[in-house]
C-alpha cells in the first residue's frame, strides 16, 4: 500500500510540473507567487511531499488554473490521502489542516488525550477561535478559515460506525478562554457529546495521581496515525515507534480516568463553580 501512495504522490507532482511548465513559470517564481517555499514546490513536484489542501489551492491560484483543473488536482490529492501509507511522513499542516483532516476522517476509532486545552473535536467555535487567535501574528481571515475547518471536521462525531474516546484531565475542564460564560456553553456541549452512543468521555479527577503529563495533547487515528497537538498547531505522524509510544501513554491515562455518571456529575459540579466565579475573573 505504501508504494501505491508513493505512485499517487508522484502522479500529483508530475501533473503540477506540467501545469507549471505550460504556464511558463519557474519553480522559484511559482513559489513566490503562491507564498510557499521553493523547496516545498520542488518536493511536491517530485512526489516527496504531500501538500496540504491550503498549499495546493495556493499553487492552483498562482498558476491561474480553471475550476475543472483545480478539482482534478484536489481529486488527486484526495486519492493520495486515501491510500494507506506505511512509511513515515510527518507533515506540518498549519494551514487548514488538510492532512489532519484526512487522518481523522478515515479512522474508525479515534482516541484523544488532552491536558492543556479541550480536544479539537470537542471545541465550540468560540473556544476554537480563541485557540487560533492566540498564535502570534494571527490574521482574522486565517483564524476564520481554521475555525471553520475545525468545526467541519467535528461531523465525524455523529457518523455511525465510528467510535471516539476522549480522556481529559480535570484541569482542562477548569481552563477557559475569554469569559466564564463561554465556558458554560462549552461544558454544556461536553454533556451533550457525552450522551452520544458513539462517544466515551473520560476525565482524570484533580486529586488522582497521574503519569507525567506531556506538554501537548494527541489523537490516535486507529492504529495508523497520531495527530500531535500543541496548543495551537497540529502535525500527523505515522512513525511506528512514535505511534506505539503514544498508544501506551493513552492506555495509562485512560485507566486513570472516570467515565459515565461520574463524568456527568463532575461536569455539573464544574459548571456550578463557573457560575459562582467572582467579577475579577470576568474581564
Amino acid at each position: 500500500m505504501g508504494s501505491e501512495r508513493r505512485e499517487l504522490m508522484k502522479a500529483l507532482g508530475a501533473r503540477l510540473r506540467v501545469l507549471r511548465t505550460e504556464a511558463g513559470l519557474t519553480g522559484a517564481v511559482l513559489a513566490q507567487r503562491a507564498g510557499v517555499g521553493q523547496p516545498s514546490v520542488s518536493k511536491v513536484e517530485t512526489g516527496r511531499m504531500v501538500p496540504s489542501l491550503d498549499v495546493l489551492d495556493r499553487l492552483s491560484r498562482a498558476l491561474g488554473l480553471d475550476e475543472s483543473t483545480r478539482r482534478e488536482l484536489r481529486d488527486l490529492l484526495a486519492a493520495v490521502m486515501a491510500a494507506a501509507d506505511s512509511g513515515s511522513t510527518s507533515d506540518d499542516s498549519t494551514g487548514t489542516g488538510a492532512t489532519v483532516d484526512e487522518a481523522v476522517r478515515s479512522a474508525r476509532l479515534v482516541r484523544s488525550f488532552q491536558c492543556v486545552v479541550l480536544p479539537a473535536m470537542l471545541q465550540s467555535a468560540e473556544y476554537a477561535r480563541h485557540v487560533f487567535e492566540s498564535a502570534p501574528a494571527s490574521t482574522p481571515e486565517a483564524v476564520g478559515r481554521a475555525v471553520a475547518a475545525r468545526v467541519d471536521r467535528q461531523s465525524v462525531l455523529y457518523e455511525p460506525g465510528r467510535e471516539s474516546v476522549f480522556v481529559l484531565t480535570e484541569a482542562v475542564l477548569r481552563t477557559w478562554p475569554g469569559t466564564p460564560a463561554l465556558m458554560l456553553a462549552q461544558l454544556d456541549r461536553l454533556l451533550a457529546v457525552e450522551s452520544l452512543s458513539t462517544v466515551r468521555l473520560g476525565v482524570i479527577p484533580w486529586r488522582r495521581p497521574v503519569p507525567v503529563l506531556p506538554r501537548h495533547g494527541f489523537t490516535l487515528c486507529d492504529q495508523r496515525a497520531v495527530v500531535v497537538e500543541t496548543f495551537d498547531s497540529e502535525r500527523v505522524s505515522t512513525d511506528t515507534e512514535e505511534l506505539a509510544a503514544y498508544q501506551e501513554t493513552f492506555t495509562h491515562f485512560e485507566r486513570a480516568a472516570v467515565f459515565g455518571s461520574e463524568v456527568r456529575e463532575l461536569l455539573l459540579l464544574v459548571m456550578k463553580e463557573f457560575r459562582d466565579l467572582g467579577d475579577p475573573l470576568t474581564p
Binding site: C115, V116, P136, A171, P177, L281
Partner: protein
C-alpha cells in the same frame, strides 16, 4: 489585543508545578517560556504562602494573556492581610524577593487589591515568531 486563558487551581503546593506546566504548554516553543514559568512560579508560591488561597479548600487562578508582542502572567488569589511588596535583600521573607525577581524580569508589573482577593501580574516581551 490579548487572548486570555484562565485556569483554576487547588490551593496546594503540589499545584505549583501544574501551573508551570500550564504556562509552558500555552507558550509552546514560541515565547519567553523560561521567564514566564519563573514568574508564574513566584506568583503562585506567594499566593499560597501569604493569602487565603493556601488554606483548606483554597483556590488560585492563573491567567495567561497572549498578545503579538507581549505575554501577561497574572495570578489571582483569595486575599489576606498582607499587601504585595518588595523586600530588601536582607529581609527574611522570601516572597518579597520573588517580586524583586519579577520586577527585574518583567517589562511591567503591578497588582490590584480588592475586598476578597488580589491580582498580581507581570508582562514579558514576546519575541515575534
Amino acid at each position: 489585543m490579548l487572548t486570555k486563558w484562565c485556569r483554576a487551581f487547588q490551593g496546594l503546593p503540589e499545584e505549583v508545578p501544574h501551573a508551570r506546566h500550564f504556562v509552558a504548554s500555552l507558550l509552546a516553543d514560541r515565547g519567553p517560556v523560561d521567564d514566564a514559568v519563573l514568574v508564574e512560579s513566584e506568583l503562585a508560591t506567594n499566593a499560597l504562602r501569604h493569602t487565603l488561597s493556601g488554606s483548606d479548600d483554597g483556590r488560585f487562578f492563573v491567567i495567561v494573556g497572549l498578545g503579538d508582542d507581549v505575554v501577561r502572567i497574572e495570578v489571582i488569589d483569595q486575599g489576606g492581610e498582607l499587601v504585595p511588596h518588595l523586600c530588601h535583600a536582607t529581609d527574611r521573607e522570601e516572597g518579597g524577593r520573588g517580586l524583586r525577581l519579577i520586577a527585574a524580569l518583567a517589562k511591567n508589573w503591578g497588582y490590584t487589591v480588592w475586598r476578597d482577593g488580589r491580582s498580581v501580574w507581570a508582562e514579558l516581551a514576546r519575541a515575534s515568531a
